[in-house]
Amino acid sequence: MNTNYIKWIIFVISSAFLVAGCASFPDHATTQQLSEKMVYDAFSYAPAHKKRLDQDRSQKICSKIGGPANLSQLEAAEVVKLARASIKYPTSGKLYGNWKTGAKLAYSGRGDRIRNGKVEKAKGGNGALCQNCHALEPGQINVGNMGPALTGYGKQRGNSAAIVKYTYDKIYNSWAILPCSNMPRLGANSHLTPEQITHMVAYLLDPKSPINK
Amino acid sequence: MADPMKIRATLKGDSADVRILMRHPMETGTRKTASGVVPLHFIQSVSVQHNGKNVLDAQWSQAVSRDPFLGLRVKGAKAGDKISVTWTDNKGDKRTDQVAVAAKN
């Protein structure tokens, strides 16, 4: 037999094996290593903005493939514990601010986005992003539905001290109440200041707020 | 020079369904940019002919959207008939394009 011919057969068989036999899904550790490298290669960022790519402990836990349904009880408990520990209250101790300021922030999605290296500065601080995901005052159609409707939030709950604190905590770090929820940890991530959050609390709870009309 | 239009003319029953897309900025004359207000610039008239005979004469304001669309129907058209479209804007720019009516697909 012609040796070239045999070589050719071996080549065909081995390359077929290479394609059909060897290639397969990588294991999770390999995927993780590859993907994490991809993240840091993909963005151009100032050193101060690297933290936007880094994951904290809770974000790592909450990034389960398939979503939070795959959380173990232990993991969920850890996220809640970390979230509770993160909550800071305004130095004044007052958790109930100005609903009018809150009403403006509720409809603002601006602030802190980065384009061409420039960080967006929003008047009155970062928007509270509520409109993007929640129905707010009655009759407003340009609202999202990612989160539950907040229409009549205060009307249904009153504004007892317990409700005020619960609402403040939920906005500051929603993961303290629902671990790995889709809702950003607005206070814990410093997207909103504690003072801004007190305005959001008032917007949600005040009987005069349009959300409770 | 003005960009070509995209014209589709298809037989639906005994009518031609004509759909025209034009490329034009349709500036309202009020839009502000960093370099000042963009001057009024819009298509004022569009005329559509079927085998050389007018079937539609449109007069537009600056309120017609950018990259405008015009849809119409022409009774009694047959496959192969010519549909010709001409637009003229307020600066005097013009563009004419023509297609043949396609049989129903």
Partner: protein, 268 residues
């Protein structure tokens, strides 16, 4: 416990309210959407891309006719529907846009940095070369089925990385892709969000880009879509044609297989 019960009760009432609201919004919006998709100004970009494709350009003064999108040099029919895929010459998985840049630099001798700098056009402009070329090449797959296969090891790697990145949360919004694209019938404000964890959702993604973006009056590509997402997520600037973007696109398009290509799409 008391609080929890109270909450779930009101949550039930809220759910009803939200449902009726979104059902109404769906019907009210659908008429306009259908009218806009049927006669899509994005079609005006196809011929622009065709001219750019066949014109001799760049320092080497050649057209893109020899560009291999994976079906052989110059073969465009069905090519975009099979991307991303692994390419021998670059030893890399490439999507349509990165492959176009490969050909423009290797065949035509153009400057990569320059192409990328103008790749995402300004709103109300004539559009970029990449936007027009990507639409023209993809339009050659119209009516054909999305068919992104995994066979090379790097294709498997890209798919899995895309899946990992889809769920990866970071930054001050705690967002990964799945936070907005993990459930049916969700909206951000009035805009529908595609559930990309479902097959129909992935199919919509794989078959409708590039698309005419009404608010910008230009044709946009998948790369633009990703850029805008990470901007809203408050991540830093996403570079053009990265493995990150290609991995996400591989993950989405492979799961979008069997969708019938129909470009340009129309996005509000």
């Amino acid at each position: 416990m008391e609080l929890k019960r109270g909450l779930s009760l009101t949550a039930g009432a809220m759910l009803l309210l939200t449902m009726s609201l979104s059902a109404a919004a769906q019907n009210d919006l659908s008429v306009g959407r259908k009218m806009l998709v049927e006669d899509n100004p994005g079609e005006l970009w196809i011929d622009q891309g065709k001219d750019l494709f066949y014109k001799k350009r760049g320092p080497k003064n050649v057209s893109l006719e020899k560009c291999d999108f994976g079906m052989g040099p110059g073969k465009l029919e069905g090519a975009a529907a099979s991307l991303p895929r692994y390419f021998d010459d670059t030893d890399r998985v490439e999507d349509l846009e990165s492959r176009l840049i490969t050909c423009m630099t290797n065949l035509q001798g153009m400057d990569r940095a320059k192409i990328i700098k103008s790749a995402i056009s300004r709103p109300r402009s004539k559009g970029s070369e990449i936007e027009a070329l990507a639409l023209f090449v993809t339009s050659k797959s119209n009516g054909m089925k999305v068919n992104v296969t995994l066979s090379h090891q790097k294709e498997y790697d890209a798919y899995k990385a895309g899946e990992y990145l889809f769920y990866r949360r970071s930054g001050q919004t705690d967002f990964g892709c799945v936070q907005c694209h993990g459930e049916d019938k969700k909206r951000v404000r009035l805009q529908d969000l595609i559930n990309m964890t479902s097959t129909p959702g992935a199919q919509e993604v794989a078959s409708t880009w590039p698309a005419y973006r009404g608010a910008h009056y230009v044709v946009r590509t998948m790369q633009w879509r990703l850029n805008d997402c990470v901007w809203q997520m408050r991540l830093p600037d996403l570079k053009y044609g990265t493995d990150y973007a290609i991995a996400l696109t591989t993950f989405l398009n492979h799961r979008g297989n069997d969708a019938v290509m129909q470009v340009p799409g129309f996005k509000r």
